[in-house]
């Protein structure tokens, strides 16, 4: 076999320029205008699109006299090709700016329930890659994070579903965040082997404001019948354990977070207390190199490692 396995001028993989022309054409829906935007001749753009169609084995566009439309197949592969193309641009910008000084500050908006511990190694890595970068982190509820992304105050938002209706938000899933019930060990529920929704009648729940999990839980309990359920909100998650300890109620608590050793955490057998965590950005807004690198670190990470917080023996006997 020769060195390359075959004559490469005869081979054809998806090529960067073909995707670039394809994406321009999906926007312009006109070969002449797309060619102008890409700074190539119209025949060159047409040829690249035909090659891409040949490579993918199906037509991407329907060409009519005055109009060009995406085919169903074109609509299907467009997000995949766009994602790969954006990844390529981002990879290039990270490679170009790695270890360089003079980067713009990176603004990150973060859900209140996500512990800094889970991000600290990634932030440390970022600080090595961009030695003088300023990183600003703000906490907020999902809706506020959506606002910040929209008005440009944050480049990256890490939180559960935004519940924010704006078509330009891009969300990439990182992991499932799991919650449990934080109980006082005096609570009769503590001794049960298994807690079901029906066992939670007449309970008082404590949560942070805008905690989606507790909102869904309480709504679900109220659907079950005439129950006296109350829900109380405390401004900071760290106010919860004290109130649980004082028998004020049951806390809604992220499983990965440390808790007081006189308390216990349990799951509800017939209710899923998880929510997906996404990294959000804005479609079509160019990411800074540091933001691209941080997203790379977030998405490539093995999140299954950040498991449930388990008290060490020493802590349990303290």
């Amino acid at each position: 076999m020769d060195e390359t396995g075959l004559a490469l001028s005869e081979s054809n993989f998806v090529e960067l320029h073909q995707i670039k022309y394809f994406l321009a054409l999906t926007k312009a829906l006109n070969f002449t205008r797309a060619a102008e935007e890409c700074n190539v001749s119209q025949p060159a753009l047409s040829r690249a699109i035909s090659q891409l169609e040949g490579e993918l084995g199906a037509k991407l566009f329907r060409r009519e006299r005055n109009l060009t439309h995406l085919t169903e197949f074109g609509k299907k592969v467009e997000p995949e090709l766009r994602q790969c193309f954006d990844a390529s641009l981002n990879a290039k910008s990270v490679a170009r700016d790695f270890l360089k000084l003079g980067q713009a500050p990176l603004n990150i908006a973060l859900s209140r329930s996500i512990e800094m511990d889970s991000l600290s190694t990634l932030l440390g890595e970022l600080a090595v890659a961009y030695p003088k970068i300023e990183i600003r982190i703000v906490r907020g509820a999902p809706r506020e994070i959506g606002e910040r992304l929209k008005n440009g105050e944050a480049e990256i938002g890490i939180t559960g579903p935004l519940g924010y209706d704006w078509e330009r938000i891009d969300a990439k899933k990182l992991y499932e965040q799991e919650f449990g019930l934080l109980l006082n060990m005096d609570n009769p529920l503590y001794l049960r082997n298994e807690i079901k929704l029906a066992d939670l009648n007449h309970q008082r729940f404590l949560s942070r404001p805008f905690c989606t999990i507790s909102e869904i839980l309480v709504a679900r309990l109220r659907e079950l019948g005439p129950q006296t359920i109350s829900k109380h909100e405390v401004p900071s998650i760290d106010d919860l354990p004290g109130l649980v300890l004082a028998d004020f109620g049951i806390g809604i608590w992220p499983m990965t977070r440390r808790y007081n050793n006189r308390l216990s955490i349990v799951k509800i057998h017939d209710f899923d207390m998880t929510r997906p965590i996404y990294v959000h950005t804005v479609f079509g807004r160019k990411l800074s190199s540091a933001a691209s690198a941080f997203i790379l670190l977030l998405r490539s990470r093995d999140w299954s490692e950040t498991g449930t917080y388990e008290r060490s023996q020493a802590e349990q006997h303290a």
């Binding site: 005869e10 993989f13 073909q18 090659q51 790969c84 390529s88 790695f98 899933k173 790379l296 490539s300």
Partner: protein, 233 residues
């Protein structure tokens, strides 16, 4: 005794191929024969895919021998960013694109590369493998191969596309992968069916490509002797 599952049969064959006293491409050929035997319903698929890739049009291709290798900065299996230029400060670099930790040919190839790490070092080189998969899976491939070389994540195949090495998996191949329970969306943490063409580059300390193997037939990889020869050139 129960009949072995397809999965178990694949595993046995992969182990046998790793242990063969033969060149890497002979081992990969043996694997290809096994796959044809175990899953005959998909036998024609690979040939059709390769014909499609080989026959299709023309275009600018991946960088050639004598050309500079584009810089990369990618996270390794522990989440540390690794840059090509930093690697080149120490020695020459062998960069190998693999399709995934699930791919039998990649697993045999990663194993073969782990076995020659000492020779590569003696020849003044070091290996990195690039996969489009997250750390959970880069670690898996690394542990299975018993490798000390880093395995880097190329998220969404961005760097592969920069080198014009990305291909879209067609419906027939998607059906095969689904049949094998290879969960692409989990491995790559995205919703796309894109993988790199396996390719190996040997890069000198000036960042220029001095050895190169690219073949759309993913069952074929750079011969180990060719790789070592390129490093010693």
């Amino acid at each position: 005794m129960n009949e072995p599952t397809v999965d178990e049969e694949y595993e046995t064959c992969i182990d046998d191929c790793k242990a063969m006293d033969a060149s890497i491409n002979q081992r990969l050929d043996a694997m290809a024969d096994d796959i044809r035997r175990i899953t005959p319903e998909f036998a024609g698929m690979v040939d059709r895919l390769i014909v499609r890739l080989k026959n299709n049009g023309a275009g600018a291709a991946t960088p050639s021998i004598g050309e500079p290798m584009p810089e990369f900065v990618l996270p390794d299996e522990n989440g540390h960013l690794v840059s090509l230029s930093q690697l080149l400060e120490t020695s020459q670099v062998v960069v190998a694109f693999h399709r995934g930790h699930w791919c039998p040919y990649c697993r045999i190839n990663a194993d073969a590369m782990a076995k020659i790490e000492a020779e590569v070092k003696a020849a003044g080189g070091q290996i990195v493998i690039i996969l489009p998969e997250t750390q959970k899976f880069t670690r898996k491939l690394k542990a299975e191969a018993g490798a000390t070389y880093p395995i880097l994540t190329d998220m969404d195949n961005g760097y592969a596309l920069e080198l014009n090495l990305a291909i879209v998996i067609d419906d027939e191949q998607q059906a095969y992968m689904t049949h094998m329970k290879w969960e692409f969306s989990e491995f790559q943490s995205n919703n796309s069916w894109i993988v790199p063409i396996p390719a190996t580059f040997v890069i000198d300390q000036n960042g220029l490509i001095k050895g190169r193997f690219v073949d759309p037939d993913y069952r074929k990889r750079m011969d180990i002797d060719d790789l070592l020869d390129a490093l010693r050139k």
